[in-house]
Symmetry: D2
């Protein structure tokens, strides 16, 4: 991975902490909407991590690829865009 490893790890550990928090909320029988909001907050942190990973990938791996490798790397990006659109 070419992204800033510390930043991505920090975000993922935050998300894991949130997930532990959500499991505790369920154990304490907390209100549905509070749990739902926490799940979405955790997904937002994962999106941030994913942005870091993909931005660095485009700015490094894809930019510096050549020929068939470049073609394949752009096909991978196309696949991700297709999932998101």
């Amino acid at each position: 991975m070419t992204a800033d490893r510390d930043k991505v790890v920090r975000l993922l550990k935050t998300a894991r902490g949130q997930m532990d928090g959500i499991l505790k909320m369920i154990d304490e029988n907390r209100y549905c909407i509070d749990i739902s909001n926490q799940i979405m907050a955790c997904q937002a942190v994962l999106s941030k991590a994913n942005k870091e990973v993909l931005n660095a990938h485009l700015a490094n791996c894809v930019l510096n690829s050549r020929g068939d490798d470049s073609k394949e790397k752009l096909a991978e990006i196309t696949k991700i865009l297709d999932q998101l659109l």
Copy 2:
């Protein structure tokens, strides 16, 4: 929470397992796109958990609410829809 607790907990534990897997992938310096795909897979599992929570909430808490409580509960759903749209 009114959702099937076992099902939600199982999904959240799956997501936490995926997250541990992603942290390991970063540690092993795996390919960016593989990491990105795993992050999105983890988000998809969280979405499933969120659906369970919200579906049960609508079918129970919201359905059985009355008067001002009903008004407040529908405002909470509106807020969630606003975030998603």
Copy 3:
């Protein structure tokens, strides 16, 4: 529809105007990314219109429904949430 009709119509006409603009851009062989950005801008206006429609629906039709009608209306909201999550 219980939403502010003028507001929703105004948003939809804006979106239709954007769509005519996009068709013209294609005709003029404009740059892919500019076209893509315009398509996403048009989708954002449609999301605004949808928010208006659904917020008013929840604050009126759903709030004032009773019994089986209420159950059915909440099932419709559940279906929309399932699509969005």
Copy 4:
């Protein structure tokens, strides 16, 4: 634009037709949820058009770009991914 022009135009015209249909539904005071579903169907068609545009852009313009042009084109893709994630 490098995408299949006929296909993109056909999709956009479908979306414009749906939009005219939605305006008519509002005029006929149709049910909120039916209107909301039509708005989302229209957005889905626009997403299809956008996929066509971006897939062709990546497979042509980006793949064949060099040096600074390549850098700029990948930055444009990064910006789009950032909006979607």
